[in-house]
């Protein structure tokens, strides 16, 4: 038995003192974590369970929920349902926004760690500032920048000789890429820059010195030394970016496009809000939430499984 472990009071001969000691060592700690457990049950576990149960009901926030078995799921996955469009865009948005935001954050962090460069503090500030601008203000600014008639982007295009600039936010083939690229301005993208920045500072300098002596180019050094060394951080950022893209895409998409034109940029998080609070189909929205939860779980599981092949925890 390891030191400090306490055997349970199985004998009648145990003294009151031993009982007290047992309680102090084995049960009292649970009282310290009890507030968190209560919070989890009330504010996380409970709502998750309630969401699952409500996904099998029809409820308009007026009368009591009506049990409809799996009707909400059947309706979502029936042929011709708009939910397929929502799922397709969600997959597209998640994959490309993760690539875009993680790639951009890594690129910025790499620039900040460039050797023999001056004024890095100033650059750090400018790189991080967009991440702390409220998303609503940012999207409003982009609505104006990208406006077909009054936008500054099309104005610059006319100076370059383009007579009719694109209608950026309502052209389906363009707007999907715009919302992906704008991810670099989100808070979690800014956060990733900071995380990558500190990770890059931890990579042993002697590895680069040795590589330089061997004649390795900067690109080779980045691919063979930097990336493997920070692979756990890349992995961590990819997982968080994936979950953020799935669940918090709402904050970017709702004020920027509101899911339009049609349902072209309607991500699942936006559809959940729309169904729950704009059409008051709470059961339907809960079914979508359960599907979103499942997608996030499967995506995370997939990433954790494949990470064994490319994440190195020891350099």
């Amino acid at each position: 038995m390891s030191e400090g472990a306490v055997s349970p009071p199985f004998s009648f001969s145990c003294s009151v003192h031993k009982w007290g000691e047992y309680w102090v060592r084995s049960e009292r700690p649970y009282f310290f974590v009890l507030p968190w457990i209560i919070g989890f049950v009330l504010f996380t576990g409970g709502p998750i369970l309630a969401t699952i149960v409500l996904s099998f009901t029809r409820w308009d926030l007026i009368g009591p929920p009506l049990w409809v078995k799996a009707a909400n799921y059947v309706r979502l996955f029936r042929q011709g349902s708009e939910f397929w469009t929502v799922l397709r865009f969600t997959a597209f948005y998640t994959i490309f926004s993760v690539i875009c935001s993680v790639g951009w954050a890594l690129f910025e962090a790499a620039l900040l760690n460039a050797r023999k460069a001056r004024g890095m503090g100033l650059f750090s500030f400018f790189y991080f500032v967009p991440a702390v601008v409220p998303m609503v203000a940012l999207t409003f600014a982009f609505q104006l920048i990208l406006h077909k008639e009054l936008g500054i982007l099309n104005y610059f295009l006319t100076l370059l000789g383009v007579r009719e600039g694109p209608n950026w936010l309502v052209d389906p083939s363009v707007v999907v890429w715009i919302v992906v690229v704008l991810n670099i301005y989100t808070f979690y993208a800014g956060q990733m820059v900071l995380i990558f920045d500190s990770a890059l500072k931890e990579v042993p300098r002697e590895l680069y010195e040795a590589a330089e002596i061997d004649g390795a180019s900067r690109v080779t050094q980045f691919l063979r030394i930097t990336l493997p060394a920070i692979s756990p951080i890349v992995f961590f950022n990819m997982v968080t970016a994936t979950i953020s893209s799935l669940s918090t895409s709402f904050t970017l998409l709702y004020p920027l496009t509101a899911g339009g034109p049609g349902k072209v940029t309607q991500a699942i998080s936006l559809d959940i809000y729309h169904n729950a609070f704009k059409t008051f189909r709470v059961g339907h929205a809960c079914a979508e939430s359960v599907i979103l939860f499942s997608i996030a779980a499967v995506a995370s599981f997939f990433m954790f499984t494949t990470s064994k092949k490319w994440v190195y925890y020891e350099v």
């Binding site: 406006h147 509101a258 049609g262 609070f277």
Partner: protein, 418 residues
């Protein structure tokens, strides 16, 4: 002993004062707008007039207003006075969460149903009883740039102008330079309600007498005409992204569009224009005159224990004194005809508007229409309307989709089939 007696007397006095203070009835009142500052604070004016009633004001942000009130009503914590949006009023009536006001209005010396705009009694007929009073109202109208009309030598829109007049004016007012439009005849539809109002002018009921969703041939014809104006004759600007039913950039305000259709509330925004003179007019009619009304309804929570005090508050808000404060503070007209005529809502800018008759005339025929439907449904359909004008969806597909969505959300019995 003497000290004990004094302390006892003091305690007794405090208890008595406390009892007196708590004898004032307290009513809870929720609204999405903050209360206006003095001298337009109608809640303060009511309290001054009724010292025996205190109003506890709750501001609920507009974005979560509807769902918050529903949650409060479900859990029995809803405010005593509810200011309900049109679509919510129907649901609250269905759930039995609001009290009928029939008995109250019968005995009221201040209010009479004959004194309200026609849409109020129409809604009463639809719901079988009177459940709410519009706290003020807004509608949808046309805006035009008088300077651009003058420059092009085009006559100003008149009270009975038609959609053909509008098309003709838009064509004459559009200017091009090197193949690029530099001045639009009309801005794209900026507020979602206009899609329904203009479709209504083409004959669709939008919401029929039985409260059913009703869109069909009128909408088809309007969409086709609007598509041609946007893409064939190119006199109407291309649709822009619409979030929450409102666009961020306004070509009319920028002086780059000669006409625009929007809510009457935009008059209080455009009043700051100093670059050009402008005015307002009714929406052009096609098969009929039509526009949509917007409001919030003062209603009494059925579970309220201070219903009489609540009625006093509503009666004050709907009185001449209360309406004057509300109309002036929010620049919205009164739904009471006698007060509407007094024009408390008129806030003119240096360059416009002047033709307030447009709002008063609109109130005579305007209907609740699409606002009686869940906002999620109507907003979703508008996104498809935009897609149709952009050529991304066919008009027939959009209409089929609109009916399918309505059936999905409202149920088959709530959708009129053409």
């Amino acid at each position: 002993m003497q000290r004990i007696v004094i302390v006892g007397m003091l305690l007794g006095m405090f208890v008595l004062l406390g009892t007196c203070a708590s004898s004032a009835a307290v009513i809870r009142y929720a609204h999405w707008n903050a209360l206006p500052s003095d001298p337009y604070n109608y809640v303060k004016a009511f309290e001054e007039k009724n010292p025996d009633i205190k109003v506890e004001f709750i501001q609920i942000p507009e974005a979560e207003y509807s769902q918050k009130l529903r949650s409060m009503a479900m859990t029995g914590t809803a405010p005593d006075v509810l200011c309900l949006w049109e679509a919510d009023l129907a649901d609250f009536v269905r759930a039995g969460w609001v009290t009928s006001l029939d008995a109250y209005i019968k005995q009221s010396k201040e209010l009479s149903l004959d004194d309200f705009i026609p849409a109020v009694t129409q809604l009463m007929e639809l719901q079988g009883s009177l459940y709410g009073f519009p706290w003020c109202f807004a509608t949808e109208i046309a805006y035009y740039n008088k300077d651009l009309f003058d420059k092009a030598g085009v006559a100003y829109p008149e009270i009975d102008w038609t959609f053909e007049d509008f098309e003709d004016a838009a064509e004459k007012l559009t200017l091009q330079s090197e193949g690029k439009v530099t001045q639009w005849g009309c801005d794209a539809i900026g507020f979602q309600g206009l899609w329904y109002s203009l479709a209504g002018t083409f004959g669709d009921k939008i919401v029929d007498e039985q409260g059913r969703f009703s869109m069909g041939s009128g909408t088809r014809e309007f969409l086709q005409r609007w598509f041609d104006l946007t893409n064939v004759s190119k006199v109407v600007a291309s649709p822009q992204v619409t979030t929450s039913g409102v666009v961020s950039a306004d070509l009319f305000m920028a002086g780059k569009a000669a006409m625009a259709f929007n809510g009457s509330w935009m008059a209080s925004v455009y009043k700051d224009i100093t670059d050009f003179t402008w005015d307002i007019m009714l929406l052009p009619q096609s098969k009929r005159s039509y526009s949509t009304l917007h409001t919030g309804f003062f209603a009494i929570n059925a579970r309220s224990e201070v219903k009489d005090a609540v009625w006093k508050f509503i009666e004050f808000c709907m009185s001449d004194e209360g309406q004057k404060l509300i109309n002036t503070a929010y620049s919205n007209p009164s739904a009471r005809l006698s007060i509407l005529k007094k024009g408390y809502y008129k806030v003119e800018g240096p360059k416009g508007p002047r033709n307030w008759d447009a709002i008063e005339r609109t109130a005579e025929f305007a209907e609740w229409g699409y606002v009686l439907l869940p906002p999620g449904l109507t907003f979703d359909i508008v996104k498809d309307f935009n897609a149709a004008i952009l050529g991304q969806l066919s008009i027939d597909d959009v209409l089929e989709g609109a009916v399918a969505k309505a059936v999905d959300i409202l149920g088959e019995e709530k959708v009129a089939q053409e």
